[in-house]
Amino acid sequence: MTPAPAGAAPTGPAPTEPALVELEDVDHVYPGGVRVLHQVSFRVDRGELLAVVGPSGSGKSTLLNLIGTLDVATSGTVRIDGHDIAGLTENRLSALRARSIGFVFQQFFLADGVSALDNVADGLLYLGIPRKERRARAARVLRRVGLGHRLDHRPHELSGGEKQRVAIARAVVGDPPLLLADEPTGALDTTSGASVVELLRELNAAGTTVLVITHDQELAAALPRRIRVRDGRITEGVPR
């Protein structure tokens, strides 16, 4: 695999630069009154690679959804790439997701009956990039994640690990500064899981900030920084 292409996000924080992700006193209560996050505050700088760990039901996915602007915090401030998301309209949130955030999920969410290439190209659809360029960039990224020989394969013709690599390619094809992965190895065996983690490391080395939720202690321990969520509170790794 080749390293980052030119034009990737800059590596390492500049001193004056705002944090890529910044949470301040964030509470989250689900409808029905389940209080999931309590006064969560932390920041993530550009270029970081960090694991979010914690027992099941502790609020990790909730946290990631708030960072990814898929949900809005009940109270507190969430700032992504310099934007206070509470002050953004629905449409601007969509644009922010399109430009600044890549998502990877445990269940892949690949479109059936659509080739790996077109699945990845869809990652650029809502950036208004013409189809020809979308496909060219998708092919490049697929080669970069080691799937250059699987461009025309449909999801059902791919292994679990390959599917997740296609999903990661789709998440980063638009070169977002932030990649959020919710248990990307959860549905994979150890070997495939390891290759996915290796890929995330490479992307990080190329400049992408990566937040990854994992239950894998070993994997978490190997990453530069860990945030531990327990009962909706951050109990470890609070501000560096």
């Binding site: 898929l70 934007h83 206070d84 509470a86 969509s94 430009r99 009956g113 809502y126």
Partner: protein, 408 residues
């Protein structure tokens, strides 16, 4: 709940979603159609049946109208007929013997011819058929100019000439010939207790159906052999096209100056038109039935779209995560619904046009498929698709991204 607005980032204004190109909108809108062809085919079929029915009905009716118009143009609408009415006591009021002659003197009348009914004369195939078995064929004394006035054409043989008009010769209407089993001239038939020679057989006479079942003999022959009193029972006239109404106004008074109200004047083409209009009235009923089928098809499309939105929550959530706006999700499902429906509409229009063309050809009509019917048909299906897809599309757009991604 407190949500501090916080200082707006300077680049917030640049955070505008990008529009999808038309090609991308159509491509994204057809994703669901391409991945579930069987379901698409079945829902589209519902729409197609409705549209096919409507297009076929309209096209068959248009073809039939065109055929009728062509027929009317060929027989003309400028023929008027005069028949005896009833006098004030209710008795039939016979026409004067020289009625045809008088009609011919009306300036715009181009020609006129008379027939006289011989009620007592019966027609048989030969002389040993029992008297009761007459075939319902009326014997008419006919003026020699009848074919020209009415526009009669011969199916076989020839019309009576001057000499034959005085001798026992007969021309048969098309049904009369059929009933007697006669297909070629030269045959003899037993008419009014003597043999008559068939000189010709007429083609169908659309403007004068009474001639189809008649046996026509010469005016003089009728007097000589059958004791005809010489009173016409029907006068046919042709008039310059622009003067038909004017002639119609004076015909009765010309034929019977003392009692014009005892004369009946009519325009046979009006009867044909009325009959055609009655046939066409049926069309709107059939179109109505097609519309109901279309409506049912629309419900099928709505159902398919509701299911699609339920099944594709994950896809919707993923698209929102990739940066799709609510509007773009709504557009995607609306486009899908319209495309699904239009697919049925186009298929149905083709099916309906094909079926009606087949029917028209089988009737020897010119095929007329009105383009407006195809346009309205496909347009209506698209409107139905939009209507059917509206609610599901709005629901899809309202799904919160997190809720969509976390599955049902």
């Amino acid at each position: 709940m407190s949500r501090r607005p916080g200082p707006r980032h300077l680049t917030a204004a640049r955070l505008a979603p990008r529009r999808l190109s038309l090609a991308d909108t159509l491509r994204v809108g057809s994703v669901g159609l391409r991945t579930r062809p069987a379901r698409v085919l079945l829902s589209a079929l519902g729409i197609a049946i409705g549209i096919a029915a409507m297009v076929a009905v309209v096209a068959v009716s248009a073809s039939s109208q065109a055929a009728f118009n062509a027929q009317l143009a060929s027989v003309g609408t400028n023929m008027l007929t005069v028949t005896p009415g009833r006098d004030f006591t209710g008795e039939p009021a016979p026409l004067p013997r020289n009625a045809a002659e008088m009609v011919r003197h009306i300036a715009p009348v181009e020609n006129a011819a008379a027939t006289g009914s011989l009620k007592d004369a019966k027609v048989y195939r030969n002389d040993h058929i029992p008297k009761a078995a007459s075939r319902g064929i009326g014997v008419l004394a006919a003026g020699l100019g009848l074919p020209r006035t009415v526009g009669l054409h011969m199916a076989a043989g020839a019309w009576l000439n001057g000499a034959q008009g005085r001798y026992p010769a007969v021309v048969l209407g098309t049904t009369a010939a059929e009933n007697l089993g006669i297909t070629t001239p030269g045959a003899q038939i037993w008419l009014g207790e003597r043999w008559f020679t068939v000189t010709g057989i007429l083609k169908k006479a659309p403007l004068a159906p009474e001639l189809d079942s008649a046996a026509l003999i010469g005016w003089d022959a009728a007097k000589t052999y059958l004791g005809f009193d010489g009173r016409p029972t029907m006068i046919y006239t042709r008039t310059a096209d622009s003067k038909v109404d004017q002639v119609r106004g004076v015909l009765a008074a010309t034929v019977n100056p003392e009692a014009p109200n005892e004369v009946t004047v009519s325009r046979p083409s009006d009867a044909l038109t009325a009959k055609q209009a009655a046939n066409q009235a049926f069309t709107s009923l059939l179109v109505g039935i097609g519309a109901i089928a279309l409506l049912v098809g629309g419900v099928g499309v709505a159902n398919t779209m509701v299911i699609a939105v339920l099944e594709r929550r994950g896809e919707i959530g993923l698209r929102r995560a990739l940066g799709a706006t609510r509007g773009q999700i709504r557009t995607q499902f609306l486009t899908e619904s319209v495309m699904l429906s239009a697919l049925g509409g186009i298929g149905g229009a083709a099916l309906g046009a094909g079926a009606s063309a087949g029917y028209a050809l089988s009737q020897n009509w010119q095929v007329v498929v009105p383009p407006w019917a195809l346009g309205v048909g496909v347009g209506a299906t698209m409107a139905i698709g939009a209507l059917a897809g509206l609610w599901p599309a709005v629901r899809a757009a309202r799904l919160a991204p997190r809720a969509a991604l976390s599955g049902p």
